[in-house]
Symmetry: C2
Subunit: 142 residues, 2 copies
DNA sequence: CCTTGACCTTCCAGTAAGTGGAACTTCTAT
DNA sequence: ATAGAAGTTCCACTTACTGGAAGGTCAAGG
């Protein structure tokens, strides 16, 4: 099966599939002409990866999940542990963002938003008493 | 003022401050020995940036906010617009993560988590009917 | 046979916002 | 004089891809 076909069936961009091969998540064989030749198992793996990624698992976790996926002797406890820690991470992030949202909302509501320069948002940013309490949002890329 | 001093007072790592100079957010002058010499205004700017970043504003937004910060003729409407769109983004992300959390929680709850291999989480990941519905979490790095 | 276009290949660069480390110089205190 | 702290630059690494260039391959139509 060619990459375009696999891309369509798995829902993953061809670029992503090549990338996944690069980092060793799949190992398709090659045709004589150099084209990748994906087996049905590869398609399943890629679909699995797509779903796992869409659930927010990191590539590293996906790697582990994939090895469990292929392990008939796996214990569901191992799978659950990964999902559980991911869930905890997600929930922690939600809390962080909710706190952020509350702060922003308060500032936005209090800003009259007209042509005058005075602005509670700027006042907040200009506060100098935050240096100790400030916490970086751990890797929050929105 | 040396960078260590500024770092301490602003709460930003020295590395970050140098990075901010690299990308043109601050322009400290230099001592004869090559050491950076920060003015009080630079310190204020960096504190401002630290606070803005901690509120989740992107560097690009920080750049704009900084120019508004230095603009006595600014209209608070401009500031509010940036904060508002950021808030919208945060709230959208919260919703995404909440949906994710619900899905994960359901899977985790349903997984017995023992030594046996059968597992609802794996079953979900192995589902093949998601390719169309799957949505990549837009840039969610937790 | 030739061409056109779709599809495939590799490789390089860029994204966001820093962080870590190496190699080196300068300042400060003993 | 020398040790250690603090400063400097530069390069690489992080995440998970994505975009684009330059070029090879394949199927269909004239």
């Amino acid at each position: 099966m060619n990459i375009g076909n696999v891309s369509e069936q798995s829902g993953l961009p061809a670029k992503t599939i090549r990338y996944y091969e690069d980092i060793g998540l799949v190992q398709p064989s090659r045709h004589e002409n150099g084209y990748r030749d994906f087996a049905v198992q590869d398609l399943h793996k890629l679909a699995f990866l797509g779903r796992a990624r869409s659930l927010g698992f990191s590539i590293k976790e996906c790697r582990t999940l994939l090895s469990l996926y292929e392990d008939r002797e796996r214990s569901s406890a191992d799978v659950k542990a990964i999902a559980q820690s991911h869930l905890t991470r997600v929930d922690r992030k939600i809390k962080e963002l909710q706190a952020l949202s509350a702060t922003l909302r308060d500032l936005v509501v209090r800003c009259h938003g007209d042509e005058r320069p005075d602005c509670p948002i700027m006042d907040d940013l200009t506060r100098s008493d935050f240096a100790k309490t400030r916490k970086h949002l751990a890797g929050t890329t929105l």
